[in-house]
C-alpha cells in the first residue's frame, strides 16, 4: 500500500515545481544566515529559504507543514555556497513524501561533510587565489583588480542555480556522490590551497631588516648579506610559523594582531626595519 502511494507521487514529481522555481531555490539559499545564532546556527534561515516550497507541497495539510518546519528548526551548519545541493535534494525527497525520520537523518549526515568540502573549496582555495590575484592587480591602482574579484564571485553566486537543479534532479543519488567524493575533493583542494598559501607568504608578507651591523671595521647589511644568502623571504616564513605555533597553543587571533603591531612598532623605534 505504502509503496503504491510512493510510486504515484514520484510519477507526478516534476509537475509540482517548475524549472524556474528550482532556480529560485538556488537564489533563496542565500538566506540561510539571515537569523544566525550560535545556538542553532543556520536553522531559521534554512527553514525560511525552503518555506514557500513546503507551503506548496502541504497546501491542504497544515499538520504536514508544521511537522516539516519543526524538523528543519534543528541545528544545522554547513557551507553556504553548497546549500543549494542539500536543499534541492531534501526538496525532492519531501515532495516524494519520504519518511520524515529518513529525511532528517540524511540532512544530519550530510551537512557536516558538506561544510568540510565547502570550506576547503571556497574559503581555503578560491578565496586566497582570487583574492591574491585581484589584490596584486589592484595594488598598483588598477581598477581591473576589484572588477575581476567581483565577476568571479558573481559567477559563484550564479552557480547556486545549477547546484540546486543538481541536488533536485539527483535526489537520493546525490548522497552517494557526495559521500564517495568528499574526502578526495577536500584532499585535492588542500593541496592546491596550501601551494598557493606558500606562494602568498613569500610574495605578500613584507619583512625586511634595514639594520647594518659593524663587525670589526666591516659593515654588514644583515638582510642582504646574511638572511637573503641563507634563503629569500626567510623572515616572513619564520614569522608565519611563529604565529602558527601560537595559534596551536590556542592563543586568540586578536593577540596575534597585537603581537604583530607591537613587533612592527618596536622594530620601527629601534630603526631595525
Amino acid at each position: 500500500m505504502e509503496s503504491k502511494t510512493n510510486s504515484e507521487t514520484k510519477s507526478q514529481r516534476h509537475s509540482i515545481f517548475s524549472k524556474h522555481e528550482i532556480s529560485m531555490l538556488g537564489i533563496r539559499s542565500n538566506l540561510v544566515q539571515s537569523s544566525f545564532s550560535y545556538e542553532r546556527m543556520h536553522a531559521p534561515g534554512f527553514t525560511w529559504a525552503q518555506l514557500p516550497y513546503w507551503e506548496k507541497i502541504y497546501r491542504d495539510d497544515p499538520k504536514g507543514l508544521s511537522r516539516v518546519m519543526t524538523d528543519n528548526m534543528e541545528f544545522i551548519n554547513s557551507s553556504p555556497p553548497l546549500y543549494p545541493i542539500l536543499m534541492g535534494l531534501l526538496l525532492s525527497m519531501e515532495e516524494d513524501h519520504v519518511d520524515s525520520q529518513t529525511i532528517k537523518g540524511l540532512k544530519n549526515a550530510l551537512f557536516g561533510p558538506m561544510a568540510g568540502i565547502g570550506d576547503a573549496i571556497f574559503w581555503f582555495t578560491i578565496m586566497p587565489i582570487v583574492g591574491g590575484i585581484s589584490a596584486s592587480i589592484a595594488k598598483s591602482g588598477n581598477v581591473l583588480g576589484p572588477i575581476l574579484f567581483f565577476l568571479v564571485y558573481l559567477f559563484l553566486f550564479w552557480t547556486r542555480i545549477p547546484l540546486a537543479h543538481l541536488g533536485y534532479n539527483l535526489g537520493a543519488k546525490a548522497i552517494d556522490i557526495i559521500e564517495d567524493n568528499s574526502k578526495i575533493i577536500s584532499h585535492v583542494a588542500s593541496i592546491l590551497g596550501l601551494t598557493v598559501i606558500g606562494a602568498l607568504i613569500a610574495s605578500y608578507v613584507k619583512m625586511k631588516l634595514t639594520i647594518k651591523v659593524g663587525a670589526g671595521g666591516a659593515v654588514i647589511d644583515l638582510q642582504r648579506q646574511l638572511l637573503d644568502k641563507i634563503f629569500p623571504n626567510l623572515l616572513p616564513f619564520a614569522f608565519v610559523f611563529l604565529l602558527y605555533w601560537l595559534l596551536k597553543k590556542n592563543i586568540n587571533p586578536i593577540w596575534l594582531i597585537i603581537v604583530t603591531f607591537a613587533l612592527a612598532i618596536v622594530m620601527s623605534l629601534l630603526g631595525w626595519m
Binding site: 542565500n30 528548526m73 592587480i137 576589484p146 601551494t195 629569500p232
Partner: protein, 268 residues
C-alpha cells in the same frame, strides 16, 4: 581632507549594503577589495580606494570566518582604511593599522548578535509548530534589519563623526609610530596565513606549502596564478592517484571476500 555630511551618509548607505552582504555572504562585496574601491569612489579618489583595496584584501587574505573564529570585520576595516588615508593624507598601508580598532568594534558587535539572536529561537519554534509561515518569514527580517542598521550607524559615526579626533590622533603620532603602523600593514597578512595553516596544515601537506613558497621565492612573477597552476598540477596528479587507489582497494576487498569463501568451501 574633510568628509562632508553627504559623503558620510553615502558611506553609511554603502556600509549597510556591504554589511548585509557580510551577514548573508551572498555576493562577497563585503570583502575589502570591493569595500575600499566603492568607498574611494564615494570620496572622489577611486585610485586610492583601489590601492587600499589591494593592500587590505591581502592583509585579510586568511582572516576568514571559516573554522569557527570571527575575524575583525572586513566592511569597517575597508571603509576606515580609505577614510583614514583620505582625511589624514597618509598612505593606505599606514591607515590599515588605524582602521583595525573600528573593525574589531564591529566584530564584537557581531559576536554579541551571534549570542543574543538565540533569543529569537523560541518564537521561531512556536511559529514552526503552528505552521504559521507568514509570521515565520516576518521574524526572519528582524535580525537582518538590526544587523543592517548597526553597520550603517557604526560606519557613519566612525567615518563622519570621529574624523576630527582621528585627525588629532594621527597628527600627534611621532614618525616612528606611523612608520611602525606602515610596517605592521605589510606584516599583517602573516596573521591570516597562520590562521589558514592552523585549519589546513597537516604533515602530509607540508611539501606543497614548501613547494609554493620556494617557487614564489625563486621565480619573479606579478601574481600568484603561475604558482596556483603548479599547485593544480599536483592536485590533479593526486586526484587520479587517489581514484586509482580507491579502485585497487575495492578490488583487493573483493578478492579477499572471494578467497575467504573459497577457503571455507575447501575446508568442508
Amino acid at each position: 581632507m574633510e568628509i562632508t555630511f553627504i559623503q558620510g551618509l553615502l558611506i553609511a548607505i554603502w556600509a549597510m549594503i556591504a554589511g548585509l552582504d557580510c551577514w548573508l555572504q551572498a555576493f562577497f562585496i563585503f570583502r575589502p577589495i570591493i569595500v575600499c574601491t566603492i568607498t574611494g569612489l564615494i570620496l572622489g579618489d577611486l585610485k586610492m580606494g583601489v590601492i587600499a583595496g589591494g593592500l587590505t584584501e591581502l592583509a585579510f587574505a586568511g582572516l576568514t570566518p571559516a573554522g569557527g573564529t570571527q575575524p575583525p570585520n572586513t566592511v569597517l576595516c575597508g571603509i576606515m582604511t580609505v577614510v583614514v588615508a583620505y582625511t589624514n593624507n597618509i598612505a593606505p598601508q599606514t591607515a590599515i593599522g588605524l582602521s583595525l580598532p573600528f573593525a574589531m568594534l564591529m566584530q564584537y558587535i557581531l559576536l554579541i548578535y551571534y549570542s543574543s539572536f538565540s533569543l529569537f529561537l523560541p518564537s521561531f519554534d512556536r511559529y514552526a509548530e503552528e505552521g504559521n509561515a507568514k509570521a515565520f518569514k516576518r521574524l526572519n527580517l528582524v535580525p537582518m534589519v538590526i544587523v543592517t542598521l548597526s553597520f550603517g550607524i557604526v560606519a557613519f559615526l566612525s567615518a563622519y563623526a570621529a574624523q576630527g579626533p582621528m585627525r588629532t590622533l594621527v597628527n600627534s603620532m611621532p614618525h616612528w609610530l606611523t612608520h611602525g603602523f606602515e610596517l605592521a600593514g605589510g606584516i599583517l597578512p602573516a596573521v591570516g596565513f597562520a590562521m589558514l595553516l592552523k585549519v589546513m596544515l597537516k604533515a602530509r601537506y607540508l611539501p606543497y606549502l614548501l613547494l609554493g613558497f620556494v617557487v614564489a621565492s625563486m621565480i619573479p612573477f606579478s601574481n600568484v596564478l603561475p604558482v596556483a597552476l603548479v599547485g593544480a598540477v599536483f592536485a590533479m596528479i593526486e586526484f587520479y592517484h587517489s581514484k586509482d587507489e580507491e579502485k585497487t582497494m575495492a578490488k583487493i576487498k573483493e578478492l579477499e571476500v572471494n578467497n575467504q569463501g573459497g577457503g571455507m568451501n575447501d575446508g568442508i
